[in-house]
Structures are given as C-alpha cells and as structure tokens.
C-alpha cells in the first residue's frame, strides 16, 4: 500500500454522476449528504419548538402548526436522518470491510437511494398533526391530504429500505473475499447484517399498517373503528411491532461503528467478539417480542403486560454485555485519543443513559406515571441522539480523509464534540427531570401546569433543555461547516491517517499480504 497523495475528487459536481452513480462509496456519500440536509431542517424544527418552550406561555408558534412540527421532526429524524446514515455508512464501509468491489446490485442501490427523495418530499410537505405514531382515530378522521402525504412518504421509505436490506444481505453473503468466514467477519458488517434482517422482517408490518390507515381514510374501511368492533389499540399493536424493531435498525449500525472505532483506537481486537455477535443476535430477536411495552397503560395488570415487561428487561442483558465489552476493550488496549474515539465514548454514554431510563419506563408501575411525559422523550433522545448520532458523527470523522482525501480541522471537531455532549446531556437530562415532575409531552403552552407544586422547577428545566438544544445546534453547525470547508480547503491527507480500508487487526500477516496482492483495495 503506497502512501500516494490522494487528491480530492469533486465527482458530485458532475450531474450525470450525481444522479446516476452506481459506485457504493459515492452512493454512501449521497446518503450522508441527504441525511445532512434533512438533519439541518428537522433540527431547525426542534430549535423552533425548544425556543417556544423556553417560556411557559404561547410565544410565536401557532397551535395548529405545533403538532405538525413535532410529527415531521420525529419522522424525518428517524427515517431520513438516522436510518439514512446507517444505509450510507453501510454502503461506504461494508464492501471495504469484506473486500468486495461494490454492493451486489449496484443499480438497485441507486434506485433505493433516489426513492428516498420523493419519500422525504411527501413527509416534509405533509406537516401532518398526528405525531410520528399516527394514532387513530385522530389520524383517520383528520380531513385534507396532510395525513395521506405522510402515509405515502413512509410507504415509499419502507420500500426503499427493503431493497437496501436485500442488497446488503446479498452483498455480505455473496461477495466476501475468499477466506473471510462468518466468524472472521467484523462487527460493523455483522451489525449491518442484523439491521438488514430487521428491515426485511419488520418493514412489511408497517407497510400493511400504513395501507390500512390509507384505506381507512380514503375509502372508509373500518380497521381501527370501535363502531365495527375493532379498536384504535389495534393500530398501536401494528405500529409498535414495527417501530420497536425499527429502533434497532437505528442503533445496531451505531453499535457496529462503536465497536469498530473503539477497537481501532484501542489498538486491539474487540473484547469478547463472539459474545458481541451473539448479543446483537439476541437484541435482534428479542426486539420483535417487546412491542407491548408501549401499551402498558391500556391494560396494565394483564399477563401480556408481564410478558412484555419481562422480554424488555431481557434486552438489558445483551446491551450490558456489549457495554462492558467496549469498556474492557479500552481497558485491555492502548488508547489513542482522537476525535472518532471520543464520539464512540459519547455513544456509550448516551446508550447507557438512554438504556437505564429505558429500563425505568419498562417497569409497569413507573410507566403508569411516566407514560406520555417528557421522561419518555428524554429516554429515546438519549438513545438516538446521544447514542446513534454520536456514533455516526464519529464514523464520519473516521472515514472523512478516505472520502475526501483531506483532513478535517481537529480543533473544530473538538469544539463540536464539547458542545454536542454537554448539549445533549443538558437537553435530554432535563427532559427526564421534567417528565418526573409531571410535564406531558407534545404541549406547546405549559402555563396550565402552574397548578403543579413544582411549577418553577418545570420552567427552569425547560429553559435548561432549550439552552442545551441550542448548544447541539451550534455543535452541528460547526460539524457541517467543518465538513464542507475541509473538503475544499482542508489539509491534504498525505497518508491515510486511519487505516480504514480493511480491518487489518484480525488478519494474519499472510492473509494481509494475499489481500494486498488481490488489489481489491481502492
């Protein structure tokens, strides 16, 4: 591997390549750019909402817009930011990790990406006031085409993710380089395999649910109607039996990236690799039988409730195993402190904070209190923002020089990190406190809470949450600026600062040489 000077190629300025590329790295970058655009606007929505909540009363957001804001914020962040990042990094890294030239179906790969653009258009243009959970009867009885747009957007996004999932599975199964057995496969690729499996198995559920709501709206079918003997609760079961596994679609690639980064910067193999793979498998399978923990308040004292609380507690075991394995990897290894490593630590932090609060909301007596409060909002934001987005940011720094041929500005990256971590702890930590104080979610004017004994505390923690949110906004602005500026003006990366091309660590020297001779590396 010569240390040739890599020059930056601005391939995306050529419209033919921009639209038509079937190269996995370029499609991966398109996914990341798409995700960046979406996170900027969905993040702005979050900042508008936090600014409104800085003061208890109504400030500048109209009540009829509010629900649309949090619906689109949630939906876009899940489907077009975090999931798109997972697909993008999978695209970029998996073929490199397994020594393949490209994904198995390069054209389908392109199609799956471009499908997401209309999908995001429909969701953005909907501004449907239904929450990302779209519970009936609200989602059925609302007039106009807002909800229909939202449903159509998600049906398209689901179709895209099934195509992507089949493509990833075929790639890993068909195109591994000779000698790379399943046991030797690195943890990131494993995480993409599990992610793809969940997408494949869970997406049909939501597609059927969305079609049912669509038909209920447009033709008056009575799937969720109490009049006909069904129940709005029926939708909750359909929705959550997709949406709980969907959480793992977001978090599994982040876990894989964390394993990759921690092992690389601790300069050692991940501790307990087999247990890591088995933990991911356990999380994947258990993830399908826990959805009822979203419905505890509907029938709290029933055997199904106990079943779901038990299965959900079980997920804490593989999650704990993974966390301790990451810590032991660092303990065993020789740590090189650098930007990606810090973000991996931030993932572990967010994952633990979100995980512990998750165990709390899974305890039925506590859930009866916390249900539909800010506690829940704080819990899942810790997992998705503190966890998944941290890992993804770290991974982008990790592959930055490989993507652009240039180095990002380290000082800016550290600034990003500090604002980011402090920001999310302030915001989502405050949200947990707010929930415990009794603040319900989805309020835009909480001056009614002045009847509560701790009203001044509620105002105080809302203000802290808003300050934290703006710190995250600053962090992300620095990130985007660093990303774009360094791609044009950054130092040329003389040698690859991080050896990402192939996971060298688990290979014998002989295998490594053989691989170099095959010239599969880009």
């Amino acid at each position: 591997m010569a240390t040739e000077r890599k020059t930056t190629s601005y391939w995306f300025l050529d419209y033919k390549k921009f639209f038509g590329t079937i190269d996995h790295k370029q499609i991966g970058m398109l996914y990341m750019m798409f995700s960046f655009v979406n996170i900027v606007f969905a993040g702005l929505l979050a900042l508008i909402m936090r600014a409104e909540l800085y003061n208890p009363g109504k400030d500048f957001v109209e009540s009829r817009d509010w629900a649309g804001y949090f619906t689109v914020h949630g939906t876009v962040m899940i489907f077009f930011v975090v999931m798109a990042m997972g697909a993008g990094l999978g695209n970029y890294l998996v073929p490199k990790m397994i020594g393949a030239r490209d994904l198995y179906w390069p054209r389908w790969n392109n199609i799956a990406f471009w499908m997401l653009v209309p999908a995001s258009y429909f969701v953005w243009s909907s501004m449907a006031p239904i929450g990302w959970t779209a519970y009936p009867p609200n989602a059925i009885v609302l007039g106009g085409d807002k909800v229909d747009r939202w449903l159509i957007g998600l049906i398209l996004a689901g179709t895209s993710s099934v195509i992507g999932a089949i493509n990833f599975l075929l790639t890993v199964i068909y195109l591994r380089r000779p000698g790379l057995t399943w046991k030797k496969l690195d943890l990131f690729t494993w995480s993409i395999v599990f992610m793809a499996f969940i997408q494949l198995a869970a997406t049909p559920v939501i597609t059927i649910g969305l079609v049912m709501e669509f038909l209920a709206r447009s033709l008056g079918a009575t799937y969720f109607s109490t009049n006909a003997g069904s129940s709005p609760l029926f939708w909750q079961h359909v929705f959550w039996s997709y949406s709980h596994p969907a959480v793992y679609i977001m978090i599994l690639p982040a876990m894989g990236l964390t394993s990759l980064i921690i092992s690389r910067f601790s300069q050692t193999e991940v501790f307990g690799k087999v247990s890591m793979i088995l933990s991911m498998a356990a999380i994947t399978l258990l993830g399908f039988i826990v959805w009822g923990h979203h419905n505890f308040t509907a029938s709290p004292n029933s055997p199904p409730g106990w079943f779901f609380t038990l299965t959900t507690f079980l997920i804490a075991i593989p999650s704990g195993i993974k966390t301790f394995n990451w810590l032991l990897t660092m303990y065993k290894g020789k740590i090189v402190v650098d930007v990606p490593f810090l973000f991996a630590i931030s993932f572990v932090l967010g994952f633990v904070l979100g995980g512990v609060t998750g165990v709390m909301v899974n305890t039925i007596p506590l859930d009866l209190v916390f249900h539909d409060t800010y506690f829940v909002v704080g819990h899942f934001h810790f997992i998705i923002i503190g966890g998944a987005l941290s890992a993804v940011s770290g991974a982008i720094y990790f592959i930055y020089s490989d993507m652009t041929g240039r180095m990002y500005n380290r000082k800016l990256a550290y600034a990003h990190y500090i604002f980011w971590v402090i920001g999310y702890i302030l915001t989502f930590g405050s949200m947990n406190v707010l929930g415990a104080l009794g603040m319900p979610r989805r309020y835009y004017d909480y001056s009614v809470l002045s009847i509560l004994p701790n009203y001044d505390m509620i105002v105080l923690f809302n203000r802290i949450a808003t300050i934290g949110a703006f710190m995250q906004g600053i962090a992300f602005t620095i990130f985007v600026f660093n990303f774009i500026y360094s791609a044009f003006k950054g130092e040329l990366a003389d040698e690859k600062p991080y050896n990402i091309a192939i996971p060298r660590l688990w290979m014998t020297d002989e295998e490594w040489e053989q691989l170099e001779n095959m010239e599969v590396m880009h």
């Binding site: 079937i22 398209l156 049909p204 038909l215 033709l219 003997g229 029933s302």
Partner: protein, 295 residues
C-alpha cells in the same frame, strides 16, 4: 459498454425518482380522483417496464454474462447458503413476502377473533385484560358479518371462486412444465419454456379477470364494499394485495418471455426464480381461499 466503466447508470435514478409519480397517484386516489390516480400509476409502471426491457436488451447484446449473474466461487463454498446458488435472492425476498402475507392474514384473523365470539374471543379478552363485550357500541351487527348481517358464505360467490382456485392451480402446473423445459434447454420450441410461460401468464390473467368480475358483482349486486364492517375491510385487503402480487408475477413472467425472445436468457435459473415466486403466490391463495371463503 461505456456506461459500465464510468459507474453511471442513466435508468436507475429515473426509476428511483419515478416513485414520486406513484406517490402522487396514491395522493390523487386518497382525494377521490381515481382516473388521475390510475393514469399516474400507469406512467410509473411504464417507466419501470421500459427500463427493465432496456436493461434486458443491453444484456442480450453483450457476449459475456453480466457480473450480477455470476455466482462467485467463494459463495458456492459458503457452508450455510452455498447450496442455493443464484436463487438466494428470491428466497431472501420471499422471507419478506411470507412475513407480509402471514401478517395480513394473521391481522385479519385476529380482527375476526375480536368480533366473532364463537372463536373464543371472551376468553382471550379476559386473559388480556380487555373489555369482554365485543359489540360495545352496537353500531354494526355482532359477529363476522357485513353491514346487513350476512356471513361470508351468504355474500361471497364460493362456486365461482372454487373454479378460480382451480384456474390458479393449473397455472402452477404450466409453470413447472416451463421450468422443466428450461432445464432441458428447450426455450423456443413448441413445448418449450417460452410457450409454457405465456400459458402461465394467460391463466394468471384469467384468474385476475375473474377476480375483477367478482369484485364488480360484489360491489354492485351485493353492496359489499370495504365499508362492510371488518369482514368487508379485511376481505378486500387480503384478496386485493394477493391480486396485486399476481399482477406483479405476470409482469415478471412476461419479462422472462422477452428475455428468452431476445436471447438474453443464459440458463434456467431465471425461470426457476420466477417459478418460485409464482408457486408462492399460489400457496398464499390456497390459504386465503380457505380462511376467507370457506371458514
């Protein structure tokens, strides 16, 4: 192939972005503009068919097999998946389809459990801590019936559907024959794969026509629509999704016929893959026929 070297595809982004057209079609449908909706979905299908045909044509012009069609040696040695060869992708796709139909049928049946007290709803509801009176509001007649209180066998034309079931089973037979012929290398002969595939597509189209006739007569003569309680709503959901899959299968078969005609068919595996999908659709129908019409 100039395009291949540049890693650029002209058709792929057009297909991907044309999903916007379907989206707008669905939007028109939701607003009640059915003509516009079918027009837009038709445009989308035309784009997809056009680009697949173009792709097949391109492949028929190249002498060597396309890289997608090569099964890498490494894969053949894979201890878990190696035996599946080129068919692996359709199995992966079918996993998703199996889950899809299991859920549609399962969800419909669980809705039936909720309203059809004869099936033990009270016991289940008690176990789950739900209200045990299924007909809480009494706006629809109790039980698995439509808005006029008619049970499935009183509304649905079972003799006609029995006939239709036999029609679809026949198509599975011609599909097996098509695969047999393709394995022998007989693609274009009188009893070759192409003719058997055309027969299968024709029988599939007959099945669809009978289904459309059934829908029309149910809606017009029996006033049985998606609004006919949970029975009506789930009936159209299950049979409608199945019908759409039959349509997809017919389009897939016609692609294979075109592939044979243009000389792009290199071996029998594509016919086998199409066959697997087609048999799957048949099996789903037999389940639906039993659970929707007969039980």
């Amino acid at each position: 192939m100039e395009e291949e070297h540049e890693h650029v595809s002209g058709m792929a982004p057009i297909v991907g972005l044309s999903f916007a057209v379907t989206g707008f079609g669905l939007l028109e449908f939701s607003q009640g503009n059915y003509a516009m909706a079918f027009l837009l979905v038709g445009i989308f299908l035309a784009v997809v068919v056009g680009s697949v045909v173009k792709e097949i044509k391109k492949r028929s012009e190249t002498v060597e097999a396309h890289e997608d069609e090569e099964v890498p040696i490494q894969f053949k040695k894979d201890p878990i998946f190696g035996f599946m060869g080129k068919k692996l992708w359709i199995w992966i796709f079918l996993i998703s389809e199996v889950i899809f139909f299991t859920l549609i049928i399962g969800l419909s049946f669980s809705l039936r459990l909720v309203v059809d007290e004869g099936l033990g709803y009270r016991e289940i509801a008690k176990f789950c801590g739900l209200p045990t009176d299924s007909n809480l509001f009494g706006l629809y007649p109790a039980g698995w019936v439509d808005q006029e209180g008619r049970a499935p066998h009183e509304v649905l034309d079972i003799p006609l559907t029995t006939l239709n079931t036999f029609v679809l089973i026949t198509s599975s037979y011609t599909m097996v024959k098509a695969h047999e012929a393709a394995e022998k290398g007989d693609f274009l002969g009188k009893w070759g794969a192409r003719n058997y595939l055309l027969m299968t597509a024709g029988i599939g189209a007959t099945f669809l026509s009978i289904q459309v006739f059934e829908y029309v007569s149910l809606i017009i003569n029996e006033n049985f629509t998606v609004q006919s309680g949970l029975f009506g709503a789930t009936f159209y959901l299950q049979t409608g999704f199945h019908g759409m899959h039959v349509l997809g299968g017919i389009i897939m078969i016609l692609f294979m016929v075109y592939k044979i005609q243009s000389g792009a068919m290199k071996d029998s595996s594509d016919v086998e893959i199409t066959g697997l999908y087609w048999h799957f659709i048949d099996v789903v129908w037999i389940m639906l026929f039993t659970l929707v019409y007969l039980v």
